[in-house]
Symmetry: C2
Subunit: 239 residues, 2 copies
């Protein structure tokens, strides 16, 4: 029977930020849409002060854009933005893997445990996909990658990754209305988990990058497919 955990107290502004983050990521507020303080405060039943504080948080997370005296808007990520998000995401995951696999044992250095966790998530993801629950599968996919980064045991790396992952979800909203997958995506998750458990970094990283695909090529293909929103089977879709 360990020590009781302190109750985590949240200010209203933190709670509102969480709510807004969820709404934005769910697409309730679309790209470029302005969040009107007065209207939003009214509908949330709070005053504008905490709402402003909440929105400021999301501005710093990259989900909202604030223009002084004009208002706060949901970001509208350009293709360059998306490429940047994908680049930083890959860099952070790569750094995590180097740390985890590099033998630094900086706190999350247990490769076998990480591999097991990733495998369990892969199984649940596979099951969700087979059952047609693509939204659930998408969430598990994000959890897979977050687990990988968290395994490096770096608070700041994980924190940064969290904000980039939020932006990644915005990218994916932009890329398409929902999550579609190919069968070998699941195979790749299992494979990557296995490699994390025991392979050298020189083997893991190429596999990670293959898993991500080439962001520029993805965007190019989507541009060509623009009239028809249904992606063809060749496309990589992952987060």
């Amino acid at each position: 029977m360990g020590a009781p955990r302190p109750i985590e107290k949240l200010t209203l502004s933190v709670q509102v930020a969480e709510r807004l983050r969820g709404d934005i990521l769910a697409g309730t507020h679309g790209p470029g849409e302005q969040l009107h303080e007065v209207e939003l405060a009214l509908s949330l039943g709070i005053s504008r002060g905490p709402l402003r504080e909440a929105m400021q948080r999301l501005v710093q997370e990259g989900l909202l854009k604030s223009i002084p005296h004009r208002g706060v808007f949901v970001v509208d990520l350009s293709e360059d933005d998306m490429l940047d998000v994908f680049f930083v995401r890959a860099s952070l995951e790569e750094a995590a893997i180097r740390r985890l696999v590099g033998g630094d044992d900086g706190g999350g250095g247990d490769r076998a445990a990480t591999a097991r966790r990733l495998t369990v998530i892969s199984e649940r993801m596979d099951r969700a996909m087979r059952g047609g629950d693509h939204a659930r599968g998408g969430d598990l996919d994000l959890e897979y990658h977050r687990t990988l980064v968290d395994a490096a045991g770096s608070l700041r790396l994980s924190r940064t990754y969290a904000t980039v992952q939020a932006e990644t979800r915005l990218c994916l909203h932009r890329l398409m209305g929902g999550y579609r997958s190919r069968d070998d995506l699941a195979v790749e998750h299992f494979r990557l988990a296995e490699l994390i458990g025991s392979a050298p970094v020189e083997v893991i990283l190429p596999e990670l990058h293959r898993h991500f695909g080439d962001p520029a090529a993805i965007l190019r293909r989507l541009r060509q497919d623009a009239p028809d929103a249904a992606p063809d089977a060749e496309q990589r879709q992952d987060r």
Copy 2:
């Protein structure tokens, strides 16, 4: 005569955040110190609202820590925190170099121009150090590394690096009262700039890590030296 640059309008909260950031980084407010809203707002001649917004910004940057209903405090970085900061800093610089050198040409891919800029900064840093202006030298050292990361042309990487660099400065405050250097630090800066210009990534990265030194070893030595604040000549001190 190009187009006139739009005047950048800053809200009071942004300006206050900048002022506070500077004060914290200058050591005006020490580790663990509480920033009292009423008192600080009075001395800055503003109301608490914008001050709260400003402090929230710095909380998200990692310079302040907010405890609900207790107050906002300057962070007191533990040794583990410092190790984490150094790890993430190195990872970001490494990602920047891989991008810059990897031939992606993602926007900042001009190696020669970057090398020239870094060399110019190295010369100014060397001159400042020889002239005894260690604070100026320290600033230029930070600018050197920021220039390196900015050369990767990734907005999010640069933004993340900026926050980590602010924390790095707090670490250095913690490590000692001021900046001391060894002569071969300047040599390393020149060398690294040269490598950035033309060497393969496998040559540059080990040099970068040698330049940083081993953070854990630095902290260990400082622990041993604790009664005497004067570091010995063997120590690496850089940012």
